[in-house]
C-alpha cells in the first residue's frame, strides 16, 4: 500500500514547487523562531519552578504548526494536544499570553485556569489544547461540521501525535469527516514516539498517510522538518477544504529533540545518535541555510527578526512574572454560561 505523497520527503525544500514570496518566507521564519525562543524561556522557567504543571515543548517540530497555520485565517479553528505551545503561537497567541498561562497568571490565554495543556484563545481560533490524547480529531471534525452547516468557508484543523493514531478517535473522526466531506485538515505530527513508546511498536504499519485510502480521503506524507514542504501540502489541503472538496490527512514526519516533558528523564528508549542526527535537520537552521543560500532573503533580514523575537521572549517572561494571580473568588466562575 502506497501513500498519496504529493511532496517527497526531501532535504531540499526549494525543489518542492514555487517558492512563496519573500514576505511569506520571512513570516515563516519568524513564527518558527517565536516558538523556539518562547519555549527556550519556558524550559528555563520550568527549572526555576515558575511553571506549576507539566510542560511539553515543541522544540524541533516548529515547522509543522508554522507551515499549516500560515494558511489559516483568524476565524479558522484549530484543536491541539498536550504539546500545543507551537500551535497556539502559530495561530496568534502572543508569547506573553502563553507564558503567563503556564505561570498560572490571570493574564494568560486561559486566565490561569488551564496551564500548558489547556490553552484557549477563541479570539484567534485556538479552540483548545488537551491534556487527553485523542479529542482534537473529533472536535476539529465538529468545527468542520459547523462551518459547512453554516455555509462559511472556514476550516477546522486537528493536530495530533503518532500516539493518537492507534486511538479510536482517529478512526471515528477521520471516517466521519470523510463521508460527510467536512472542511477539516488532520495534521499528524509523527515524531516516532509516544512518550517512550516507539510508534513502530504500537502499530505494524507506521505509514500514517497510507491510511487515507481506508477512509477515502487524500493522505499526504511530508517532511515535517521542512517548513516549505508543510506549507505547500497545507496550502492544497486548506484549498480543498475551503472549496468544499473535503478533508485531508497530512502526516508530518518530525522529531522532538527534548525530553517528552520538561523534567522527565530522556534515556533508554532512543539513542544519543538518533537525537543528534535529527538535530542536524533542525527546521529553523535548515530553512535559514536554504533561504540564504538561494539568495531569497539576506542575513540582515533574519538577524532583524532574531533580535525582535529575542526581545519578545524576554518581554514575555517579565510580563508573566509581573502579572497578578487569578482571584480565588473566581475559582468556580463560568462553569455554565451566563444565559
Amino acid at each position: 500500500m502506497e501513500s498519496t505523497t504529493t511532496h517527497a520527503l526531501s532535504d531540499n525544500p526549494g525543489e518542492l514547487g514555487t517558492l512563496p514570496d519573500k514576505q511569506v518566507l520571512l513570516a515563516l521564519y519568524r513564527t518558527m523562531v517565536v516558538i523556539r525562543r518562547t519555549e527556550e524561556q519556558l524550559a528555563k522557567a520550568y527549572l526555576s519552578g515558575l511553571i506549576h504543571g507539566a510542560c511539553h515543548t515543541y522544540i524541533g517540530e516548529e515547522a509543522v504548526a508554522t507551515g499549516v497555520c500560515a494558511h489559516l485565517r483568524i476565524d479558522d479553528a484549530i484543536f491541539s494536544t498536550h504539546r500545543g505551545h507551537g500551535h497556539a503561537l502559530a495561530k496568534g497567541v502572543t508569547p506573553r499570553e502563553l507564558m503567563a498561562e503556564l505561570f498560572g497568571r490571570v493574564t494568560g490565554c486561559s486566565h490561569g485556569r488551564g496551564g500548558s495543556m489547556h490553552l484557549f484563545a477563541p479570539e484567534v481560533g485556538l479552540m483548545g489544547t488537551s491534556g487527553i490524547v485523542g479529542p482534537s480529531m473529533l472536535m476539529a471534525a465538529g468545527a468542520g461540521y459547523s462551518f459547512k452547516l453554516l455555509k462559511t468557508d472556514r476550516v477546522g484543523v486537528a493536530f495530533f501525535g503518532d500516539g493518537a493514531v492507534n486511538n479510536g478517535a482517529f478512526h471515528e473522526g477521520i471516517n466521519m469527516a470523510s463521508i460527510w466531506d467536512l472542511p477539516v485538515i488532520f495534521v499528524c505530527e509523527n515524531n516516532m514516539y509516544a512518550t517512550e513508546v516507539p510508534f513502530a511498536s504500537a502499530t505494524r504499519n507506521t505509514d500514517v498517510a497510507a491510511r487515507g485510502a481506508i477512509y477515502g480521503l487524500p493522505g499526504i506524507a511530508v517532511d515535517g522538518n521542512d517548513v516549505l514542504a508543510v506549507w505547500h501540502a497545507a496550502a492544497e489541503a486548506v484549498r480543498r477544504a475551503r472549496a468544499g472538496e473535503g478533508p485531508t490527512l497530512l502526516e508530518c514526519r518530525t522529531y522532538r529533540t527534548r525530553s517528552h516533558s520538561e523534567g522527565m528523564r530522556d534515556a533508554g528508549y532512543r539513542t544519543r545518535e538518533e537525537v543528534d542526527e535529527w538535530r542536524t535537520r533542525d527546521p529553523i537552521t535548515t530553512f535559514r541555510r536554504h533561504v540564504l543560500a538561494d539568495g531569497h532573503v539576506i542575513t540582515d533580514e533574519l538577524a532583524r527578526i532574531d533580535a525582535e523575537v529575542e526581545e519578545l521572549a524576554t518581554d514575555a517572561l517579565a510580563f508573566a512574572q509581573n502579572s497578578p494571580w487569578p482571584d480565588p473568588a473566581t475559582a468556580a466562575d463560568h462553569i455554565f454560561s451566563a444565559k
Binding site: 484557549f120 479552540m127 465538529g142 461540521y145 477546522g156 478512526h171 471515528e172 466521519m176 454560561s337
Partner: protein, 325 residues
C-alpha cells in the same frame, strides 16, 4: 387543551426550534429518513434534509466529540442516542471536554449541546438497554440534567434545553414515551430548576424521579382512600435541583421519601436526602427514606425484572413505613 403523547410533544418542540434556528442539527443512528427508533425525528428529514438530520455510523464516541466541536464553533447540535446506554463510549469526550470547555476558556467558548436518549427499564429491555445514569451527570460539574415526565414538560423543557448555551441531558424514560397529556397550542418554555408539585398533601412528601412519578401518583391514589394525603414532587430537572420546593414541602409534612428506579448508592436520592438533612434537620419527624431499584444489572426475564423495579405496591409500603416512623 389538546392531548399529545410525550414523544410527539417533544418532537413538536424540536421541530419549532429547528424552524426558528438553522444552526440546530440532529445527529444519531436512524434519526434521518427513518425518523428515529423512538420517532424522535419523524418527518423532520423531509423538512430539513441530511445535513440537519444526520444519520451516523456506529461511532458514539466520535459523534459525541464531533458535536462538542460543532457546539464550540457556532452550531447547536442535538445528539440523539436512541438508548442512553450507547453514550457510555463517549464518556471521555463528555466529561473531559464537553463539560469543561466553558470553564477552561473562562466563559469565552459556549457549549450549546443537547444529549437526548431513552432511559429506564421497560419490557425486558435487559441490561444493555435500561440504564439511567443521571446521578453521574449531576455529580460531575458542567451538565444540566432534565428528566421530564409529562408531554407538556417534555416539550417545554426540550425547547429550553435547545436554547441553553450549556450541555444538557434530556432523558426520556421509555415507560413515558407513549403516555398522553395536555399540551398548550401557544408557544411556551419551561425553565430549568423548577420542580412541580404533582399532588398536594400534608402527611408526607415524596420526591419521585421520571417514570416513578406516575407509579407514585397511583400509590397515593390508593392511600388517599384511607385519608392519607401525600405531597408528590416531580423535580423535572436534577441539575439544577429545585431544593427549595422540596424543603417547603418537608417543612409542612416533616417526612420525606425519594422514589427512584435508579440505583441508591451515591444516587440522586442520596443527594436530596443529604441536602434536606443539612437544611431542614429540625423539620424532620422521621428519617428520610429512599426507595430505589435493586442495585443489580437489569435482568431480562419478566419474573426477575419485576423484582428489581419499585412498583406501586412497594411505594405504598414505603410510604406507610415512613408514616409509621
Amino acid at each position: 387543551m389538546r392531548e399529545m403523547t410525550f414523544t410527539n410533544a417533544a418532537r413538536e418542540g424540536l421541530t419549532e426550534e429547528m424552524a426558528r434556528d438553522p444552526s440546530i442539527f440532529v445527529v444519531g443512528e436512524g434519526i434521518g429518513a427513518r425518523g428515529g427508533n423512538f420517532n424522535t425525528t419523524t418527518g423532520l428529514y423531509e423538512l430539513y434534509g441530511p445535513e440537519r438530520l444526520r444519520d451516523t455510523p456506529i461511532s458514539e464516541r466520535g459523534f459525541t466529540g464531533l458535536c462538542t466541536g460543532a457546539a464550540m464553533t457556532g452550531a447547536r447540535p442535538v445528539v440523539d442516542f436512541m438508548f442512553l446506554d450507547f453514550l457510555l463510549d463517549g464518556m471521555g469526550e463528555l466529561i473531559n471536554q464537553t463539560a469543561k470547555i466553558q470553564y477552561m476558556s473562562d466563559g469565552r467558548v459556549p457549549m450549546p449541546i443537547v444529549f437526548r436518549g431513552s432511559i429506564g427499564i421497560v419490557g425486558a429491555s435487559a441490561t444493555h438497554h435500561s440504564g439511567n445514569y443521571y446521578p453521574i451527570f449531576t455529580h460531575l460539574p458542567g451538565f444540566r440534567v432534565v428528566v421530564p415526565t409529562t408531554p407538556r414538560d417534555a416539550k417545554g423543557l426540550l425547547k429550553t434545553a435547545i436554547r441553553s448555551d450549556d450541555p444538557v441531558f434530556f432523558l426520556e424514560h421509555k415507560a413515558l414515551l407513549n403516555s398522553k397529556g395536555p399540551v398548550p397550542e401557544e408557544e411556551y418554555l419551561i425553565p430549568f430548576g423548577q420542580a412541580e408539585i404533582r399532588l398536594a398533601g400534608s402527611d408526607a412528601t415524596v420526591v419521585a424521579i421520571a417514570a416513578m412519578v406516575n407509579r407514585t401518583l397511583e400509590a397515593c391514589a390508593e392511600l388517599a382512600g384511607e385519608g392519607i394525603a401525600v405531597e408528590v414532587i416531580d423535580p423535572r430537572t436534577l441539575a439544577p435541583l429545585d431544593i427549595d420546593t422540596i424543603l417547603e414541602s418537608v417543612h409542612k409534612t416533616g417526612r420525606l421519601l425519594i422514589v427512584d428506579e435508579d440505583f441508591a448508592p451515591s444516587g440522586i436520592g442520596a443527594e436530596i436526602a443529604a441536602q434536606v438533612m443539612a437544611l431542614a434537620f429540625n423539620d424532620l419527624d422521621a428519617p428520610i427514606a429512599r426507595l430505589n431499584g435493586v442495585h443489580t444489572p437489569t435482568p431480562y426475564s419478566p419474573s426477575l425484572e419485576a423484582a428489581v423495579i419499585p412498583n406501586t405496591k412497594r411505594i405504598v409500603e414505603a410510604i406507610r413505613d415512613l408514616l409509621a416512623e
